[in-house]
């Protein structure tokens, strides 16, 4: 009898713990919904707040919070407060569709800042387009994303420009010609690795692709793929993936070939890359739109405030989210909050000078920006010389 009581207690403790878990998840979903909707400009951030890529989604949310604070402190839009609401899509297309449907059914939301991965953004985008909701993704770079409709924007360059910059680092800056590609099997990874191949063939006659390996994102053991790349004689590897691909590949590759050079993409630009990769990511280089050690006063101010509030440096995608929110709020200031069609036209025509440089959407809803080349040196990000 006594025994079973103790058991019951333990089980109830576990149950309570589970409940707390569920609650904390729930709170994260919709913050700030306590404010009366009539008096608020609602900034909707949709991205992975939990799960493997939560680093990025939380970055989006932090950026939105920071921008909202700035606007609330400086100027008010028609006497309204800016509130941020967060939706968690766990970086899964299925969840993103659920989130999109919830946002649509709300009926009062004109703009969504999100989602994170291209494949996830592209799953949600048709729903936004059909319901005339503006989607601004700070990160989607898949070529087909902005073609989904005229309400779909991105504050990120299309992958062609970035892939060119990556290949340029590999061939011209590092002086290598035998390129190996290791890419993740997602919408973005498959299309990007294809584009990298095309660019090498068309624009870099001195270089050639010796091998291309596709891997499942998050499978941790990349040694079979690495052995094949190494046997093919690659002297530089372009890793098409996020930090959770670049760091283990760098480590596992350098175990069998310490001289290998590794080139990534801007989405590897994250503090996590240094923490996870340690000494192995030394020398990893990639192009970025936003570099936190820039001496542009706007960037300095943003990085300082961000660091003071969250304790770490903002990544490129966080900065792009920051500007995306800025674009939205500026547009609201100019044409008001009520008319989504007017808001869309305003966003499409706006010229915005932010921390990621000058932003002006073209007719597809894409942007064009210049790249900075960054390398990991002495455990920190520095400019590639």
């Amino acid at each position: 009898m006594k025994r079973s009581k103790i058991n019951l207690m333990i089980i109830s403790i576990l149950a309570v713990a589970m409940f707390v878990t569920a609650c904390s998840g729930g709170n994260g979903n919709q913050q700030g919904s306590g404010v009366n909707n009539e008096d608020a400009v609602r900034v909707i951030v949709a991205g992975p707040m939990t799960g493997d890529n939560s680093e990025y989604g939380i970055g989006f949310a932090n950026a939105a919070d920071l921008m909202a604070e700035k606007w609330n402190a400086e100027a008010t839009i028609e006497g309204k407060t800016v509130v941020v609401e967060k939706y968690d899509d766990k970086n899964s297309p299925e969840e993103a569709v659920t989130v999109a449907n919830r946002i649509v059914s709300d009926g009062n939301i004109p703009v969504v800042i999100g989602h994170f991965a291209s494949g996830v953004s592209m799953a949600a985008a048709p729903i936004y387009q059909d319901n005339q909701i503006i989607e601004i993704s700070p990160s989607a770079s898949h070529p087909d994303y902005s073609g989904i409709g005229d309400y779909i924007f991105r504050n990120n360059t299309v992958i062609h420009a970035e892939a060119s910059a990556s290949v340029d680092i590999a061939v011209n800056d590092l002086g290598k010609s035998n390129i190996g590609i290791i890419s993740i099997m997602t919408d973005w990874g498959v299309s990007t690795s294809g584009i990298v191949k095309e660019i090498v063939e068309n624009d870099f006659p001195g270089a050639n692709i010796v091998a291309h390996e596709e891997v499942i994102e998050g499978s941790d053991d990349y040694r079979p793929a690495i052995s094949k790349l190494n046997d093919a004689g690659a002297d530089v590897v372009i890793t098409v993936g996020m930090y959770n691909l670049v760091a283990p590949v760098a480590r596992q590759y350098k175990e069998i070939n310490p001289d290998i050079e590794i080139v990534g993409f801007s989405n590897a630009y994250s503090q996590q890359l240094l923490e996870l990769g340690g000494e192995y990511v030394e020398g990893v280089a990639f192009p970025v739109i936003f570099f936190s050690q820039s001496d542009d006063p706007k960037v300095v101010e943003f990085v300082e405030t961000y660091k003071n509030k969250y304790g770490n440096e903002p990544s490129a995608l966080t900065a792009q989210a920051y500007d995306s929110v800025g674009i939205f709020l500026t547009a609201v200031q100019n044409v008001g909050y009520g008319d989504t069609a007017a808001l869309r036209d305003e966003i499409a025509n706006l010229e915005y000078d932010g921390v990621t440089g000058f932003t002006k959407f073209d007719e597809n809803g894409d942007v064009d920006k210049s790249f900075t080349k960054v390398v990991v040196r002495d455990g920190q990000f520095g400019l590639l010389k």
Partner: protein
């Protein structure tokens, strides 16, 4: 190079074998597939990484982590499995409970430590040596040796000690063992302890091999180890080793010759084929229906 890939496969296969042992031990005695085992493995790696961060030495941290994981497994048994056994609950109830525990454990780890991958220190020097044209890393040799030693110890414990005798007796007939004066609850707890310890050792070795640990690492590894246990004959310790190594090699071969995208499915393809041809696994005993 073929031999290289086989060696890579054997290394990772040994770690599956260590996890598979946990399934086999518990299944042998309780006739229960303990699906919480994968998250116990992740717990072992994550908690060890956490203890390492206190800087009281890597070895003491690993040992503490292994002991904690063993105790956690006992707690799981006492808190959830034993009450069900006492009520004589249907085995499907226990099975579902283990899945529930797995989710609780993984999510508690995520709440406490976050879901991101974190760097796990190397336990062996990052060097390779060349043996007959095969590049072998010290980590791989270390993993192989530790797994082999552990397997031998486990086999000895089960076959040569008094508690092992009690385990085998409980395995054959729990009621009769109880009547003979064996404290069956203690035997079960001891089995869970062994399972937890081997899972934690596997967790530490694999994390050091990949250089990272995270709360979700147990999900796929747990399922593959389960496939390995069934392949070798669930309930048989040598079977777990053979099953683990076979799954490891076939994964490595699939990744090399078919492409990395086939890697994760090959373990389960083998599982299904084996279940059709030899339902009891390679070394499994024929089931004797007990009355």
């Amino acid at each position: 190079m073929g031999i290289q890939q086989i060696f890579n496969g054997v290394t990772i296969g040994m770690s599956y074998a260590l996890i598979a042992v946990g399934y086999s031990l518990v299944f042998g005695i309780l006739r229960l597939v303990n699906f919480s085992h994968g998250s116990v493995y992740a717990f072992g790696a994550t908690i060890t990484l956490y203890l390492i961060s206190f800087n009281f030495g890597i070895m003491p941290a690993i040992i503490a982590g292994i002991i904690l994981t063993g105790l956690l497994n006992i707690l799981i048994d006492k808190a959830a499995m034993e009450p069900l056994r006492k009520q004589g609950a249907a085995s499907i109830t226990s099975l579902i409970t283990t899945i529930g525990i797995s989710n609780i454990l993984t999510n508690l780890l995520i709440v406490r430590f976050g879901s991101q991958r974190r760097q796990f220190p190397s336990l062996f020097p990052d060097k390779t040596m060349n043996l007959l044209g095969v590049d072998i890393q010290y980590t791989q040799i270390g993993m192989l040796l530790i797994s082999l030693v552990l397997m031998v110890i486990l086999v000895l414990v089960v076959n040569k000690t008094k508690i092992g005798l009690a385990m085998r007796a409980s395995e054959q007939n729990m009621k009769a063992a109880k009547l003979m004066g064996i404290n069956v609850n203690f035997v079960v707890s001891f089995t869970f302890l062994l399972g937890g310890i081997s899972a934690a050792i596997a967790g530490v070795l694999v994390s050091s091999y990949y250089g990272m640990a995270y709360p979700n690492m147990g999900y796929v590894s747990g399922l593959k180890a389960f496939a390995a246990a069934v392949l070798g004959g669930i309930g048989s310790l040598p079977g777990s080793i053979i099953g683990g190594v076979l799954v490891g090699i076939s994964e490595s071969a699939a990744a090399t010759y078919l492409g990395s995208e086939f890697r994760d499915s090959v373990a389960f393809i083998i599982l299904i084929v084996v279940l059709i041809i030899r339902p009891n696994g390679l070394l499994g005993k024929k089931e004797i229906e007990k009355v």
